[in-house]
Symmetry: C2
Amino acid sequence: MIKIDIKYLAKELNLAISTVSRALRDSHEISAETKEKVFALAKRLNYQPNANASGLRGQKTKMIAVVIPEMVNDFFSLVISGIEKVTQAQGYHILLYFTHGDHALEVSFINTLANGRVDGVLLSITDEHNDNSHLELLNKKGIPLVLFDRVSERMDNVKVTTDNYDSGILATRHLIDMGCKKIGYLKIHKNIPVGTIRMNGYLDALKKHSAQKVPLVLECPSGNDEAFESIRRMLVAEKPDGIFASVEKLAVICYRVCEQIRLHIPQDIRIISFSNLHTASLLNPSLTTITQPAFEIGETAAKALLRIIQKKGGYNAGGNVVLQSRLIKRNSTAR
Amino acid sequence: MIKIDIKYLAKELNLAISTVSRALRDSHEISAETKEKVFALAKRLNYQPNANASGLRGQKTKMIAVVIPEMVNDFFSLVISGIEKVTQAQGYHILLYFTHGDHALEVSFINTLANGRVDGVLLSITDEHNDNSHLELLNKKGIPLVLFDRVSERMDNVKVTTDNYDSGILATRHLIDMGCKKIGYLKIHKNIPVGTIRMNGYLDALKKHSAQKVPLVLECPSGNDEAFESIRRMLVAEKPDGIFASVEKLAVICYRVCEQIRLHIPQDIRIISFSNLHTASLLNPSLTTITQPAFEIGETAAKALLRIIQKKGGYNAGGNVVLQSRLIKRNSTAR
DNA sequence: CTGTTAGCGCTTTCAT
DNA sequence: ATGAAAGCGCTAACAG
């Protein structure tokens, strides 16, 4: 199996290696007819430049790394699709890494990436409160880094995020506008940051736009069955007419509870939930979801990264971007 | 910003470049104390070998390409997770490509990959009936290729698939075992191969295991609303007591129809559906889904590929693998 | 317009 | 046990 490299093309055409190289890159200092010949042969033999060689030589690889916590999650699937759209358009390749929530793994990936394997890194931080000297290393090595969704306030890099506080307001206002007088918030267990930030939106929206004096926050336990029970008790005792679920899973559980205690949605109670997948809205077409613009986050982050890579405009060219969540109201019969 | 390469380490330690290289690779012909010193400095300076250089030199990159139709699809997310599990364990990197159903794009990706960018390729073919000379090219260039899920019978490479015929039997038998006497099959529109193969399983299962003489196949139109209407008419006219949906979307629509015409699931009608996401089963916890072993497909394909890469045991070492779908019965209150 | 040549960082003979 | 040097395929600076 002969290998088709520049040298081979050059020999076939009786040209110097550099001439072929220049022709292939469409240099203006090569005659039209030479280019013709080179292109023709290259196409005929299906010549493909060796990525390692040009990478080594030119110190750029046309590859970016995407580092995310995990994939089995609609949000990140959509983000990746957004990223892919822009990288593909500009001829970049995607290297994909999952940290599985393991900060040490993230450190190890970043270290590996810190030596010319990629032209830039897109990262959604695994543990926002942990040390991030590994990220400083990237900066020090001059490898562009853009953070998205899960970011670190202590880093100076471009960040692309969703305004979770605003989203909390948006969701709560929706319920208020629909006429809900007593709105409960299902807070995700543990200290998951978005749970709290979204809650603040909920609290402030109540204060400003509703007559409801007392917020109704249920801190849901982590087990599904425990959460079910806990939500059931709350619904029975408090009889809210609106529920804002901080994450989709809680909305699904809440829906089940409603089924069991024979509450009708949306006649007796309205539910709004964060969701990327619209799973929750599949449960009931009249259920409204609030959706992070996942695809756009991917696009935006990728565009920012490529801009930095190409213009080398410093590691913070373009500044941060905060995107807004959207309400999705579903009324159609099917998905 | 100084760069930390082998040369730098060598200079610092007053050693030859080759000695450092050997030490880093833990060669047996290097004294223990030299190794110590080299390791220590490498760690202290966070030395990372340049991937392009070693790739160029050694003709292997420790990268594999994963080429799939798209990502916004739970099946492929899970497959990728499976792939990642095994590549990560063996220190391989994943390059990710989406063909978006465009055969020309697939050809272009494969061509790019055909020159040393990766050590191997995992592919789910975009258009199973199209020409695949681009894949022959990979074989000719000696780049290992493993096909999964959407494969081409005309290729000799290792293939990892699910037995869709068997799955059709499994699903149909489930309904029969649950006591259904009249089972309908919701066939996906167009000539999507799985729709037909699963249907054959349905037909044969009826023949062998059911008293039902006449199969009830509904070829569903592609629009959601059209499918809804078409399913509604069928349910009303035929009154089946079991439905086997070839894909999840049809199950969801069918569920809506049942709601509208006040059929109770599973009292009046049982539904079983293909699904990776369990969205359908969220609709009703008593709904049973049949699931492709997506994660295992990823794992299996990746393992096969790495085996070929490492042992160079020819392009078909290990042979094909056909995995079985699984029934998932859900009874819990929540997800 | 085209050819010659020097590396990019690393691995691997071949010497010592 | 260590060093010197060649070369992976490509690009670009320097000659003509």
